[in-house]
Subunit: 257 residues, 2 copies
Amino acid sequence: MSKPLILVTNDDGMFAPGIKALVEVASQFGEVVVIAPDSPQSGQGHAITLTSPLRLNKVDVFEGIDAYECSGTPVDCVKLAKSVILKDRKIDLCVSGINHGSNASINIIYSGTMSAAMEASIEGIPSIGFSYLDFSFEADFTSCKYYARQIIEYTLNQKLGKASLINVNIPKLTIDEIKGIRVCKQAEGNWTEDFVESKDPRGQSYYWMTGEFYLESKEDDTDIWALNNGYVSVVPSMHDLTDHKAIPSIKGLENSN
Amino acid sequence: MSKPLILVTNDDGMFAPGIKALVEVASQFGEVVVIAPDSPQSGQGHAITLTSPLRLNKVDVFEGIDAYECSGTPVDCVKLAKSVILKDRKIDLCVSGINHGSNASINIIYSGTMSAAMEASIEGIPSIGFSYLDFSFEADFTSCKYYARQIIEYTLNQKLGKASLINVNIPKLTIDEIKGIRVCKQAEGNWTEDFVESKDPRGQSYYWMTGEFYLESKEDDTDIWALNNGYVSVVPSMHDLTDHKAIPSIKGLENSN
């Protein structure tokens, strides 16, 4: 069997410690190609660039590994990797991250890290988004690398079955402290936003978003529960947003005129 | 009963004919407040603005209706409306659009229109995204307004049941030609991307995204089927991205070390 081709991407850019950790782990399993945004793209969700052109530059960051910076969003990165950089080649796995900060619960919706992974999964590539519950630039990625290795190996052995995208979050704990992996569902939760209003030097108002996460789910089978209880959370995720259970309940719309 | 409070938003900005049509319809049902991005935000998905401040300006566009322009994304607009403009008031309905172009199938993922509506639904507000399969600035919104009226009335009568977000797409047909409404699921489909490569005046390459949609679903219960067969498509949608069916199939991950 030839070496698997692994695409590594993120939303924090090429110089984030998280992507370095992920490149290190992925390189143990196959040929790695890296593409990352040339500026931080946290909170970019599934944004794509339609009204302006994209730049793509080869960069020398990781020894012996092809790496590219792109001027667009994380989703643009994956599209460019598939259609330009790796055109005509089969990508065996896409790994995104390791994000600095949680993408559990509703955060998946806003996350550039997870949207990049989702874009690859839409293209039929098995994909994993990794996030670490430590925002610090000096974060210790030892436990992340340990679990990333395990989960990448499992995925390359085609054990994801029907899943094509998984959202992995790792608690800020040492390997010894982490109790293992929990496969779970996305917790229901949300942010209570607040906007700090200030005045610019010309006296005009501006608003800066801030907020606090609150958890709604009380069950013990959610990603937030797993993280709060010392587990790595793994949520199989998908791009079909249909609320299938709700279809019968709004059938009345078909006869509403 | 007091008049319902209806938030109108979009991703094409305040001067798109689509939002004008939607304001016109919504005004027949209640008090309308409009917030729209100050520049076109197509393809912005669920992006939010974290690293720069937001501007919010009251504008005089629709007679007798409070309207605001925001410098951020469609999701930022909804967050600002809820937390700043309409703080302490209950929003009874959020309508987004009418988008110029389809948001059926996988397009929901990239759509600023649908992400704005989804953001409102995450906040617990019943929400509807409307899209019209006509990109033209001169598009005739007569049939859109006819169906928007019907669907808004149905929603305000609290008949959405378990659904809190619906994705409505309207075919480019006259009222007489449209066969009615179909409640359906999101079709499986994707874009085959192509990037047009060109050189700037300094000889540097740039890439411009283009692509063609291809449909994978063959069933007759999808949004694309409905639209291709002369129906208005309505898909109940949600922000739980968990692939619940896949959970049992990857339980092996819990014992992978």
